[in-house]
Symmetry: C2
């Protein structure tokens, strides 16, 4: 399961509510410019695949396309909307996951707002019984 | 608001449910060993501050103590438990935030499971209208 907050002002809010499906595509730092371009456009007005320069790839279990440039994609169904109207919070169930085996050490992005991203990539391992 | 999943097997689940308060203390990579030690102990049996070697600091608005070694702490109240029993999901409201002004570039930890952590710290900035 994945929890996801979407602003009711975003086109994605309506799309999630009506289709009850979505793809979560995980970008790496190499795609930062495209991530920002996606964030500054709205799917209500433009085809972001074309305007941003990304490649749609058919999903297996949902109608929404995946983004071929992303090293990992999660096909999801909306399973709980009890907190949607109050917080914009959707509970998603991942029904199919994809990952690119050639990407061994993805450097992922975490938006801190206003175009500032933290980059994660360095990995450390400690002895632990934690799952 | 912060959303937080806690296993019903964890002592924190009961504590959150009864006190309806908690502190979220954000560690940096320098505290990785202590993070693992906390994850491998249970507050039901030991005082983790003593066993792990961390320093409690009184909070302002909640009864739970903060962790002095963490560069940021959030004092929280539980505001919604509708998804608690099904998913272990709590909605928290941050009522007081603390940050150490001397820590300019915190390197934060993201647990991938089994003692493996991604470290974020590098920051990039792109021109964007995104908030």
């Amino acid at each position: 399961l994945v929890g996801c907050v979407v602003s009711p002002n975003d086109f994605s809010f309506k799309a999630l509510s009506t289709t009850r499906q979505c793809a979560l595509n995980i970008p790496t730092v190499e795609l930062a410019a495209q991530v920002v371009a996606c964030g500054n456009a709205t799917g209500a007005q433009v085809d972001k695949f074309a305007s941003v320069g990304l490649t749609p790839r058919p999903a297996r279990l949902i109608a929404a396309p995946l983004i071929a440039e992303c090293y990992a994609s999660l096909e999801c169904r909306v399973v709980d909307t009890r907190l949607r109207n109050r917080y914009g919070f959707f509970v998603l169930e991942v029904v199919q996951a994809w990952t690119s085996p050639s990407v061994k050490a993805p450097r992922t992005l975490h938006h801190r707002g206003y175009g500032v991203f933290m980059v994660a990539g360095e990995t450390i391992k400690l002895a632990s019984r934690m799952r």
